[in-house]
């Protein structure tokens, strides 16, 4: 689709806003609708749009598959690591109250970190799956 000028220009204009919106959804999920799951999917859709318009080899330069596959595991590890941080802080597994002196502040921090982990895993998984399906030779 590289020859369609309208698609190229519109998607170039849209992609930064899609990513910004994903970050908004990610970090505003505590107060309004949203969170890691939705943000991850929206963030991945920015890369998928880029891949559809500019071709797979170009999006692979922006998001190298080696990095993206490692991010899948990194998100899960970040989540589980937060759980262990609670454990070492003297609480139960995934108990965020002990992460800070004030339990509510600790909860807030813990939720933000694990939501980020969720978002990372979801986004990286979706991008990887898209790469694999789109890169399959017929």
């Amino acid at each position: 689709m590289r020859h369609h000028r309208v698609l190229r220009i519109i998607s170039k204009l849209l992609i930064p806003f899609i990513m910004l919106f994903a970050l908004y959804v990610q970090f505003h999920g505590d107060f309004g609708p949203g969170g890691g799951f939705q943000a991850g999917v929206i963030f991945a859709s920015a890369f998928i749009l880029y891949g559809l318009i500019f071709g797979l080899e170009n999006v692979r330069k922006v998001a190298p598959p080696a990095v993206v596959t490692r991010l899948i595991a990194a998100g899960v590890l970040l989540y589980a690591g937060t759980g262990y941080a609670g454990l070492f802080g003297g609480g139960n597994f995934l108990d965020y109250s002990v992460l800070r002196a004030d339990p509510v502040a600790g909860q807030h921090l813990g939720i933000m970190v694990i939501e980020f982990g969720v978002g990372t895993t979801v986004a990286a998984t979706m991008i990887t799956i898209f790469f694999l399906f789109a890169g399959r030779d017929r």
Binding site: F31, G32, P33, F37, V41, T125, M126, I129, F133, R136
Partner: protein
């Protein structure tokens, strides 16, 4: 009578959707169509759960001083994660479909049975 219909309409549609999805999975031979049917089945379960959590006159469970009645947030949590897990499993199913197509040259169930000598 009208009250009975209004009280159960969501459940009935959820069951209808579930049965359409079920029928698509068991009676259609194309593997992609089966996966779409599975998605319809899945969404019908989502609809059933969310319908059960709805409270008349309630609002979305985002706390604010201006509201007193909220819908039940627990089904929302369960279904929220189920949707993302659903797309991950759909992607896995589609991956299998692609591999089957590459190995057998078809994604129609009866032709696959024929190829495996199971007719």
């Amino acid at each position: 009578m009208l009250q009975v219909i209004l009280d159960h309409y969501n459940y009935w549609i959820a069951i209808f959707l579930m049965m359409v999805g079920f029928y698509t999975v068991v009676a259609r031979g194309n593997l992609v169509k089966k996966l779409v049917g599975l998605n319809i089945f899945q969404t019908s379960v989502f609809l059933l759960y969310i319908s059960m959590g709805k409270v008349t006159g309630g609002t979305a469970p985002i706390l604010d001083d201006r509201f007193q009645v909220y819908s039940n947030p627990i089904p929302h949590v369960l279904i929220l994660t189920a949707i993302v897990v659903g797309v991950a499993t759909t992607a896995l199913g589609l991956g299998l479909v692609v591999r089957i197509r590459e190995s057998y040259g078809t994604i129609e169930e009866d032709e696959l049975d024929l190829a495996d000598g199971e007719t």
